[in-house]
Amino acid sequence: MDNSLRELYQEVILDHSRHPRHFGVLDNATHKAEGYNPLCGDRVTVMLVLGEDSRVADIKFQGKGCAISQASASLMTDMLAGRTLDEAQKLMDGFVHLVKGDDAGELSADDREHLEAMSGLSEFPMRVKCATLAWHTFHNAVEEGAVT
């Protein structure tokens, strides 16, 4: 068995994809966006409540897609809850660097450990878009997705 495959589809990932955390609808969302990958038809909707302190007070997602995109969305929501937007941006930058196999120096040791399961993606450049879909969607929700 191909080691890089085992690393990509390791237990953490499969578990997140099968039992996604924060899956569902946020009725009181302040921000919301839909992400779509036209190549594969995968979709994800990210909803969040942004507190007055610029912190992600609550966050949920919905969608369907491959194991990577679902696991990534699940992990993301897990990690973003409670962070300020600045912290979130830094985390996202680090995540993108990590999955592309670049230096992800901006990640704290703790975050790095949490995201470690995703580092196998660097061997699969064609799947990086699956992993970043939810993150870009979060970004869009914050930037342009204010619910009015």
Partner: protein, 414 residues
């Protein structure tokens, strides 16, 4: 089985396979098993060599020069047109227009034939299994001119409902645009019957033959069809080249599409007059070297007993179909009688992309996604499928590797 075995025997797939340099390469250290010919076929040495050789000995721009090379290139270019004419059974060579691909061939019909006629409310009839390239050009006429797109459904097995199609044609219908073979379901449509029904109501028919021309024998005169589009890269030929068959009677009334050199008769400051077809629709320097490659590809394909090639592909499909059935966790989409060698399926609990990634590590190239057929995906309630499509160079051994890869995927993801 004996009968089938006999037919297959007259086509030597292993020998043909040796013509394709890429098929001897390794992918991730594994032998390449290429099951993505539906997206694009690989190219035999004969095609690559014909192009290099032509470019290295007889190349110049066509039509324009009186010098030797220009004549040689023009001869090769026009000979390629006759090769396509013969391949499609067209009555005249000036009914063949070279395009950059199948997509452009269909757009040409939309821009040059249909657009000038469309009034708001006019209808264009499509099937739900069309490729985006046979949807979006017609959508333009909806978006820009108020045409209405009407959809003919397929049955659950993926076969076309001919009666429904017939019933949907009315006095507002301006064109039936339908695939010859679905690139997802493998369904082969009864073009002759479709044309008969449409013509009975005075409606012209365009066939998207991008897949059909590869696997079926085409005779545009016997079909009595108005337009037939094909593309080189799926026919074991080069990229950047396709062709449109258009009935001469239509060509005369069609307005130009691209404007430029070679498609004119005369240009002054105040007036421009146009050349006759096919030149009228071939503005600018055409894909000259690619037409030579396309002709080499058609010659290559026609050098085989086409029925035997088809029997070989059908055998591979039947074998794969039965093996995938044995797995018990794959739902095949498209089981129409007489369908071509394209196998699309959904795997329980496994997304197509994950499957394709795992197969790739085994050297197996399949397609995962919506296959540029989102309307069809919606019809079958799926976001994406995994698709294995067979070419003349594939073997049962390829199928075995593919099935073993699916089992491995199930182990990892299941």
């Amino acid at each position: 089985m004996t009968a089938q075995g006999k037919i297959t025997a007259s086509f030597d797939a292993a020998a043909a396979r040796a013509d394709f340099p890429i098929l001897s390469r390794l992918v991730h250290g594994k032998k390449l098993v290429y099951l993505d010919s539906g997206a694009s076929a690989q190219k035999p040495r004969q095609v690559l060599d014909a192009m290099s050789e032509f470019a290295g000995t007889d190349y110049a721009n066509v039509h324009r020069g009186v010098h030797y090379l220009s004549g040689a290139a023009t001869d090769a270019y026009e000979a390629a047109r006759r090769t396509v004419q013969k391949f499609l059974g067209a009555a005249r060579e000036d009914e063949i227009i070279f395009t950059k691909g199948g997509t452009e061939a269909i757009n040409l019909v939309s821009y040059s034939f249909l657009a000038p006629k469309i009034q708001p409310g006019d209808e264009i009839l499509l099937s739900v299994m069309e490729h985006h390239s046979n949807i979006v050009p017609w959508h333009f006429l909806r978006e820009r001119q108020g045409a209405v797109l009407k959809w003919v459904d397929v049955r659950d097995d993926g076969s076309l409902d001919l009666e429904a199609l017939d019933a949907a044609i009315n006095s507002r219908t301006k064109l039936v645009a339908i695939t010859h073979m679905s690139n997802v379901l493998g369904t082969v449509t009864p073009l002759k019957d479709i044309v008969a029904r449409a013509h009975a109501k005075g409606v012209p028919v365009l066939a998207d033959g991008c897949q059909g021309a590869v696997h079926e024998l085409v005779d545009v005169q016997a079909l009595d069809i108005d337009f037939y589009a094909l593309t080189g890269h799926k026919l074991y030929g080069p990229t950047g080249i396709g062709a449109l068959y258009a009935r001469r009677a239509h060509l005369k009334a069609m307005r130009p599409f691209n404007g430029g050199g070679e498609m004119i008769r005369e240009v002054t400051r105040d007036i421009v007059t146009y050349a006759d077809a096919p030149a009228r629709f071939e503005a600018g320097t055409p894909p000259i070297i690619e037409t030579v490659g396309l002709a080499a590809a058609l010659d290559y394909l026609s050098g085989f007993d086409r029925a035997a090639v088809k029997a070989h592909e059908q055998d591979l499909y039947a074998y794969a179909r039965s093996k995938i059935g044995e797995l018990g966790w794959a739902r095949v989409i498209g089981d129409a009688p007489g369908k071509g060698a394209i196998l699309s399926f959904e795997a329980e609990g496994m997304h197509a992309h994950d499957l394709a990634t795992i197969l790739d590590r085994e050297g197996v190239a399949v397609r995962a996604g919506h296959h540029c057929a989102q309307v069809l995906m919606e019809r079958f309630g799926v976001g994406s499928t995994t698709r294995a499509s067979f070419g003349l160079y594939n073997s049962r051994a390829d199928v075995d590797v593919f099935i073993a890869g699916l089992r491995k995927a199930r182990e990892i993801l299941g």
